[in-house]
């Protein structure tokens, strides 16, 4: 017998428990900017961005995985931001490569739309299917050495967000 049949054969149906359905009663009072500050991202205006990163690379389909490693500052567009936790939804379709937001040294994301919380976020992206997508909240970080927070583990060392809303 294959492992598949063996495993499925061992699973006895249990007494039915209903799926509780969509979560109701999420509070809506969240501030996207405040959450971004908590997760270590900085918010700037378009003109401030010009001053900070004049030589940045804007999303470019010609970049492949390895040459992206040489990109110092990459600017991409996010689908929407989530106010409760500062996360920004990115999809493969809006990225030069899946690894792009991780491999560049500094990341800039434009955000045009903000939803209050994760329930609203999944409602928003329920309509679209992406081959790959992620919620990105702040720059790469670790606290694996004595719980000391260090920004810039393996992914981007900084996240700069430009809100166009």
């Amino acid at each position: 017998m294959s492992a598949r049949e063996l495993i499925l054969g061992k699973i006895e149906p249990l007494a039915e428990v209903k799926h509780p359905g969509a979560f109701q009663g999420a509070s809506g009072e969240f501030d996207f900017r405040a959450s971004l500050a908590v997760v270590g991202a900085r918010v700037v205006t378009p003109s401030e961005l010009e001053e900070i990163f004049p030589g940045r690379r804007r999303y470019d389909k010609t970049l492949d995985g390895l040459s992206l490693a040489e990109v110092e500052v990459l600017e991409i567009d996010g689908e929407f931001g989530v106010a409760e936790n500062g996360a920004i939804w990115l999809t493969e379709e809006s990225l030069p490569h899946r690894v792009a937001p991780f491999i560049c040294q500094h990341l800039v994301i434009n955000v045009k739309k903000i939803v209050p919380h994760m329930h609203a976020a999944y409602e928003e992206l329920g309509k679209v299917k992406s081959s790959f997508g992620l919620f990105l909240s702040g720059p790469s970080k670790t606290a694996d050495i004595e719980q000391s927070l260090v920004i810039g583990a393996h992914g981007a060392r900084s996240l700069t967000v430009v809100i166009h809303a």
Partner: protein, 447 residues
């Protein structure tokens, strides 16, 4: 192998380090309290998550098959493994087909459970753990001591010494920023060169056939997106029904684990990258046995946040290695006996049964009750150490014989010195109270 109590004795020999470990994990618990209490709906979220998991476990077979069909339609190859040996063989076969001799692996407690690294090394394949904490303990030839904070048992001096030895950082440099940068440079080379990447899975969605991997460092993504072959390993209990359910779990996971609002990266793998091979290995390894036992079924709801570790007074003051299992702490102590009762007979006793674990659990597992169930089952199976079963029988005998109880009491009052010896485990690190001259009964009779 040392029992939990014996290993803990070694751990607490360094009192200053024990205090540090205790206080540091308590700080993580406090961060969890802070971010969870900001949400008025926190308790409702826990209840919701618990119900989703109950519903999933009640229909696990259907959801696994639905997930399999969707994932295959998405272009992902799905494998099934009954136990650790099958799991390891499947993973090795995929790597061998690629002809790789080295690979990168992000954190996966499942692969620790299966001892995948040792197996692959025995087949001549080098495994590079890419989570910073896991890389540190891998260099030191140790196991992770915590499922979220693998190197929490180490001080920065230890990490500095290890990196000096393996990465050539200057001797004596113990700056976390500097050491993390050294690891970043070292691992970036491996990410760029690796053809195979192994990751764990936090959630697999039956509705869409996608799986979600959460990290703060970005190591899972760096590995998976650059490799030609991505292998994701998951226990069959990681399934959830719908994509919208992720909202509930992602709100709970990081807040419970580290007091963050969400992990930095929550990546949704739906289809392989163009030209990439993507595999999922679904493993049982005792989970169906657990599912069939109403007493322990609930432990399959675990989302591996480790909130129960951070709050546990025994874990905080005995360290993860004392549990001699890949998953330590309260949840590990109820998972481990399911796989091997005899080897893990000590673990359900490594608890005060205070119930704090159950109170912080984001999916409302009755952890402390299951610890208590295991104690009864293990005693009934005759697996408890002789000293414990003889002691319990002796106590039952004394307590059920009033004359012997009174005689014993008066003897101990007269010769209370016998309690103040190392033969009495309770005496270790405690001062015994001074015994009164007479019992209440003796005093009452004189009146």
């Amino acid at each position: 192998m040392l029992s939990h109590a014996e290993a803990s004795e070694n751990f607490i020999a360094d009192a200053a380090r024990t205090d540090w470990h205790d206080e540091t994990l308590w700080l993580v618990r406090e961060k969890r309290d802070k971010v969870s209490k900001v949400l008025p709906e926190w308790e409702a979220l826990r209840e919701h998550a618990s119900q989703i998991k109950d519903h999933t476990l009640a229909n696990l077979g259907e959801y696994l098959q639905a997930f399999e069909a969707k994932a295959q339609a998405n272009g992902i190859t799905v494998h099934w493994a009954a136990d650790a040996a099958e799991h390891n063989a499947i993973v090795h076969e995929i790597i061998a087909a690629q002809g790789s001799k080295i690979l990168v692996k992000s954190k996966s407690m499942l692969t620790e459970e299966c001892h995948l690294n040792d197996y692959l090394v025995s087949k001549g394949i080098e495994v590079i753990d890419t989570d910073l904490g896991e890389r540190i303990v891998q260099f030191r030839n140790e196991a992770p001591s915590h499922i979220v904070l693998p190197a929490i048992h180490l001080k920065k001096e230890d990490v500095g010494e290890t990196f000096h030895q393996f990465l050539g950082t200057p001797k004596g440099n113990k700056d976390p920023q500097f050491l993390t940068e050294a690891a970043r440079q070292h691992l970036r080379g491996h990410f760029l060169a690796s053809e195979v990447a192994i990751t764990g899975v936090n959630f697999a969605i039956a509705e869409t056939g996608e799986f979600v991997v959460c990290t703060n460092e970005g190591n899972a993504d760096m590995g998976a997106h650059l490799a030609k072959v991505h292998i994701a390993c998951m226990g069959i209990e990681k399934i959830i029904p719908k994509r919208a359910d992720l909202a509930v779990f992602l709100r709970l996971l990081a807040r419970s684990a580290t007091g963050q609002l969400i992990t930095t990266y929550s990546s949704h793998f739906h289809q392989p990258r163009e030209g990439q091979e993507m595999h999922i290995v679904l493993i049982d390894n005792g989970r169906t046995r657990q599912l069939a036992d109403p007493k322990y079924k609930n432990s399959l709801k675990c989302i591996r946040c480790a909130a129960c570790f951070n709050t546990c007074p025994v874990y905080r003051r005995s360290g993860g290695h004392s549990y001699h299992q890949p998953v330590a702490g309260p949840i590990g102590s109820i998972l481990a006996p399911n796989i091997d009762k005899k080897a893990n007979v000590d673990l359900p006793f490594a608890s005060t049964l205070c119930g704090s674990c159950s109170n912080v659990c984001p999916v409302k597992i009755n952890i402390h009750e299951q610890l208590w169930f295991w104690r009864q089952d293990l005693m009934a199976a005759g697996l408890a150490p002789a000293a414990k079963s003889i002691g319990m029988k002796l106590m039952a005998f004394v307590l059920s014989n009033p004359a012997i109880y009174r005689l014993g009491g008066s003897l101990i009052r007269r010769f209370s010195g016998v309690l103040n010896t190392r033969l009495n485990p309770w005496y270790k690190q405690r001062e015994m109270p001074v015994a009164p001259k007479e019992s209440f009964q003796e005093w009452y009779k004189k009146r």
